[in-house]
Symmetry: C2
Subunit: 249 residues, 2 copies
């Protein structure tokens, strides 16, 4: 944990009392002592510092001081053909860590129907994995996850609404030759809606539906990546393009 | 498996006889039939096609035709403070998948000494994980892995030798403000030697030793990434910078 996260309602008169895994982490892993200062953050809110007031193996009290600086929400929304649960766990954590605003888990012909019954898809379980990612990154903005088990209504009805706030819409496609920097303005300043397909790829019909919604197709190069590797690679590349300013520029 | 890999010596008169996990994969997962064409590749050699001549649940014979096109070796060498074995497995596969030429597993003050005794570090076990990555990517060039349990001799004696073929030497550092495109020429054309530290980071002393070897420090931004996420993110970013040619450029 590179930040101790808590919900706004847990804070009582600028004091935070912890008796769960966060307390055990502070005691056992961080080996904190009274007076130590820890990095803390309110879920979906500001960050700040927490001074250890008292500590035991099972209970920690922190005096909290929050920054004035707001944390902004990430500039990428992710559409993901629902992957198998063991992979989804890692993708949720990595997406929260690298910075995603909304995650839309959708259906596709190549998604196994049983994946939509996975117990992982319960809100509180997904939130756990997302929080792991935030705790790793040291930030507070929790991605919002929505599940859409029907492909067409999502693409035809939801995407036009999402698109209002995402002017740049992108989809990796192996039969395209244009690379990412060739299909978007660089440096990238606008919000992106990125669609990542299932193992084996989207069907032609599905790609056509995304194209109707003005998704731009680009190539990730000749190597075939696992979905989880592709998500990390693409989020990292978009981040680079957001801050792109070469030495001579 | 997006490619069936084999060693050059397995090929007998343009025929490949398989009776191991590759045969079972072709039978059970790919459900191939006689006459089907599969993508194949010689480890560290050319790719080509294999026509299924005969197939049973445990034995497959392929007629092999190899391309004339050579596969080039990747343009990145990776120095990695030896991570814990469970993470190293994934990093090996991901590095092979994304494309790394040499991997140097080295010591650092924050590396647990016991990691150097991990059974994973046996050549044939590491090769298995590397091959998983190649099979995923659909390519053939196996990264070469070397283990260096002593930090100073590696940095002082080995890096000057490695540097002869790697003009660009890079190290991510949280206290730097320059971003990756600001410290290297873009588009990137030269071979890169990239150093990735342990969880918790290199010591100041260690960073100083790398700087003496003309490593350029750059920032990955405010988010703190796990080592395995950082490796994937950085390899993806370097790949983007190699092919960087914006639409207007």
């Amino acid at each position: 944990m590179n930040i101790i996260l808590f919900a706004a309602k847990e804070l009582k008169k600028n004091q935070l009392n912890l008796d769960d895994c966060r307390a055990r982490h502070i005691h056992k892993i961080l080996k904190s002592r009274p007076g130590d200062i820890l990095k803390v953050g309110v879920l979906n809110g500001p960050r700040g510092s927490g001074m250890v007031r008292s500590i035991s193996p099972s209970q920690v009290t922190l005096d909290i001081k929050l920054d004035n600086k707001p944390v902004s929400r990430p500039m990428t929304d992710l559409i993901l053909a629902l992957p198998r649960p063991i992979m989804l766990k890692r993708i949720l954590a990595q997406s929260a860590c690298l910075g995603v605003d909304n995650i839309y888990l959708i259906n596709s012909r190549r998604v196994e129907k049983s994946f939509f019954n996975a117990s992982l898809l319960k809100d509180e379980i997904m939130t756990d994995y997302l929080c792991h990612g935030l705790e790793q990154a040291g930030t507070t903005m929790l991605p919002r996850v929505a599940i859409h088990p029907r492909f067409r209504p999502f693409v035809e009805d939801m995407i036009p609404r999402i698109s209002l706030s995402c002017p740049v819409r992108l989809m990796a496609h192996p039969l395209t030759s244009a690379l990412l920097p060739q299909v978007i303005p660089v440096p990238l300043r606008e919000k992106v809606l990125l669609a990542v397909g299932p193992e084996g790829g989207w069907l032609d019909y599905e790609i056509e539906k995304f194209r109707e919604q003005e998704f731009k197709l680009f190539s990730m190069g000749p190597r075939i990546l696992k979905v989880e590797t592709a998500v990390t690679a693409l989020l990292a590349q978009l981040e680079l393009l957001r801050h792109f300013q070469p030495a001579g520029g």
